[in-house]
Symmetry: D2
Subunit: 308 residues, 4 copies
């Protein structure tokens, strides 16, 4: 498709997504997040040619939130290896909401997967000591090709003041010997990673790295190993959308991770990275307009992993 | 690859799988199943050319068991439609074992997905009245390109005598208004479908239909719609291996369904159907040698959905 | 107290209870039960002297429902013995609603206690073969000093048509080897016992037997052993009011069992049996006016087991 | 009974209890507790006359552990009132182990009862600010008539170093708005109360206060209100022995609370307080010899609440 055609499609998709915005709600359990503009909506597509196509608020900054779990998992797999990671955290979808404690306590003895809070906190524990926040910020900037990424101090502080549940999860992990570092340090690093300010474009670029086997399509530099990227995409597919992951895989069929800041990171394997921003969320905590937009793009352009 | 090369690979893979046989156990909670030869092992590959390549006990008959859930789901989607099916049964992985009742009772109000017993029984309820067993047998033969498929009477009777738990699940579904037909009729049809005698070759052929967008590669006849096949493959990928589905998706990355009779049905989308028979099972109830064989084939030939 | 004083107290208590009737609801999940008169309310006190004092609708017939669990447990303990009973059924309060399946499946491997449906069905299994329904009816009449007790055929049929959940529980018990008899026979006997038509007076008489160490206060005949009566009263105290048992023990402090037909059986140990009828139920399925009446009687007359 | 007879009975009971010691284990999850002498065993009876009868190691000091939950509940009821306490904490037996988080998270939204850790931590939160530890120590000494009670510093430090799970529970309570004070302050006060060093005699005296309607039998001073004492005894009966509470109520029938330090506090209402020390614990965390001893005393002397 030529550029004009692509932009036309993106704008039509945006218009379609916009219809769902009123059906969702902005997350407000963290006061600072509640200030987001409910009607904001943007989408970006990054292709292997190096071009990034956008529509709507694709340059607006918002916090990455749970999508940082993807970056943390990538870094942990690269630096600690597959076995060290999955000795501590499972890779099974949980059928539970993002912040469930039940499953951790009752069933498995370890967090179900790295995409729920308990698993992500255990992953951050693996990074602590190996990486400073500044280094992880640098890595994030590189993976997203976005030097504008910074720590959103207000969101960070607001979340640190409202993290009792994550703190409970950490102490439970501690009591089971799953984490080793100081709980406060883990929470600070985890929350800082969640408070990175990104744009739909940043996420599209990150998606492209994952689509392109871990290689930066423009510079040709390998940023992540092939195996890391394969593992991460699979876990995004089976666990990336909380307890809506199964339905999302059936209907959209793209490895995708959502954040309650309104972001969506989606991967069209071998071809494209997609980033979406829209802070109006559905009941499972996923960007409501983004779901509609990805369903549309997937069906119209045959992007589903099992499209014929 | 030429034929000889393929057969060499299959035989090497078989030898590799054989090493894991002693680590597993034959299912014996149904007496008739306990009589299987623990050391049996076979594999079949069906390609779009129409050739089926085999190694080991690829022509041995065994009962299809839970792999029949795939056929039932296909027929239900074709005849009742997506909405009717998923109004009754979810599509989320459950993180639970195949016969869990907890999740049905506590969490969701409907079965998590069509690959666990509660979901499959609800699917069979949708087929009852629309299809006789004879018709479903005919459909199964056609999808598997195998006229030798028949009802294994001894297994059928043995399972009917040991189906108290499935009966409990049915009555629970009944009490929640999820099933409509007579419980005994549902159990008979469900158990009959589980008692179909297939071979690794049958399963490879079924896998090829799913790989080939629902079209019989040899006759060119469309047997299943494109959308049915897409849905079924996705659910096989996220839910096909019980509470080992997530790990299997990461390590193998092929839509696969197991049965406690020892069968594995696996799909290399767009290319191949794979059927495996090996009644020695791992702790999650999946063919233990088959897991090793598929991991090997996937990594050696880059069959993972997210292989570069 | 003389008779007039007692009747005055009972009528005042009735007036107090009546105020709570509008706050409750008649059970309607069994159609026939839904026909009860929501405003009916009666109370009966049976003392060791042989006198029964009543107020309100104390002679109205209603079905005994879950209070039959007390009779079944008494008979099972007498005929099968303590060990046989508690090998199959626990004696721990469950913290769950009366028809929970979760706990049976997940936690314990056997029903928590004989006052929830799963436990009571296992108890009835112990009685089957040893007793016909006619014999159990005879025993019930004797324990209640009420020859008017009969099977309410309409309620029985209505419940048999709506017992899918109990049927599910039975099959689950069967699959775990906890029950031995035919499920249909168990359900029939269990449901027949639940469908016995009693009055507040019948229940007061039954309560008196339990208060009087198992001895009929009038005839002097021992109907139940001392140890049976002690076990039954303790279990009524800890488990008799479903997931409201703990609060009821704190506030009222009398071994009490409720039925969704609106009955309450309560025991003032060593002194009195109390029977109450009022089909308007609170959210936990207990007679709402009866709760208020027993709280009042307990505090006014110091009937709490730990009253000073 | 005269004094000699009583002492004879106590010594026989002690000999009986001693037989069960080898069947249990000393708690060792807190290192300092693991140092206890497994074979220690003592019992004390305090009667209203003011006499305390003892046998065995009735003067040995050990830490009160969970029995402090009884003291905290008494003080909270006296100072904050019934409604403030039970707005925050339920009064239902849980059917779960002492340190379960599942139930708190999943089912109720508040801790099941004040005898499990989550409930007791919420009770301590109610005391913080109202009472210093020194004041609570003074109250404990008075209730136990034992000025020798002090903080066991080594146990306190050992427990503070091993309280990750309690810390997790606190943060979960915090995230649900059930506790208000600083988590660290709550844990310190809770742990300090658990680390009070008592003897079997101390506990017998405390039991006597509860048996005697809250009045010190010797001085005649009322230390606790009648209603507090009634509530506490009922909750000890239904919830005092963790997930063995139901069976203990059936078999012994005395309000009793255990601590993993090996203590048992038991109340023969209106007559006696009983204290036991024996650090060999059964699988539910209750003093194994003490269970046998109380069963014996209860059956031999008809102490069961429903003894004829």
């Amino acid at each position: 498709m030529d550029k004009e055609k692509i932009l036309k499609v993106l704008n039509e998709t945006l218009a379609l997504g916009r219809k769902d915005i009123p059906l969702g709600e902005v997350a407000d359990y963290i006061p600072e997040l509640g200030k987001a503009d409910k009607n904001a909506l943007g989408i970006a597509l990054a292709g292997k040619s190096g071009n990034v196509y956008t529509a709507g608020d694709a340059e607006s900054r918002f916090t990455i939130q749970s999508i940082s779990k993807v970056i943390s998992l990538c870094v942990a797999l690269e630096s600690r290896g597959y076995d060290a990671v999955f000795d501590r955290v499972g890779m099974e979808p949980s059928g539970e909401a993002f912040n469930s404690i039940v499953e951790l306590d009752l069933v498995s003895g370890k967090p179900y997967n790295p995409m729920i809070n308990s698993g992500a906190l255990a992953i951050v524990d693996l990074l602590l000591g190996k990486y400073t926040f500044t280094e992880l910020l640098e890595i994030s900037r590189k993976l997203c090709r976005d030097d504008g990424i910074r720590l959103d101090e207000r969101v960070y502080r607001s979340e640190m003041e409202n993290c009792s549940r994550n703190r409970a999860i950490c102490w439970l992990l501690k009591s089971k010997g799953i984490i080793e570092n100081d709980v406060d340090e883990i929470l600070k690093l985890y929350t800082a990673m969640c408070s990175l300010s990104v744009t739909a474009c940043s996420l599209a670029n990150l998606g492209l790295i994952l689509a392109n086997d871990g290689v930066d399509a423009i510079s040709g530099e390998r940023l992540l190993s092939s195996s890391t990227v394969r593992v991460v995409k699979t876990i995004m597919l089976t666990c990336g959308m909380y307890d809506g992951s199964g339905q999302f895989a059936v209907e959209v069929g793209l490895p995708t991770k959502s954040g309650i800041g309104g972001g969506l990171l989606s991967v069209v394997d071998k071809y494209l990275g997609i980033g979406i921003y829209g802070p109006s969320l559905d009941k499972k905590g996923n960007c409501i307009a983004g779901g509609a937009m990805l369903r549309r793009l997937s069906s119209e352009f045959g992007l589903h992993i099992f499209a014929p």
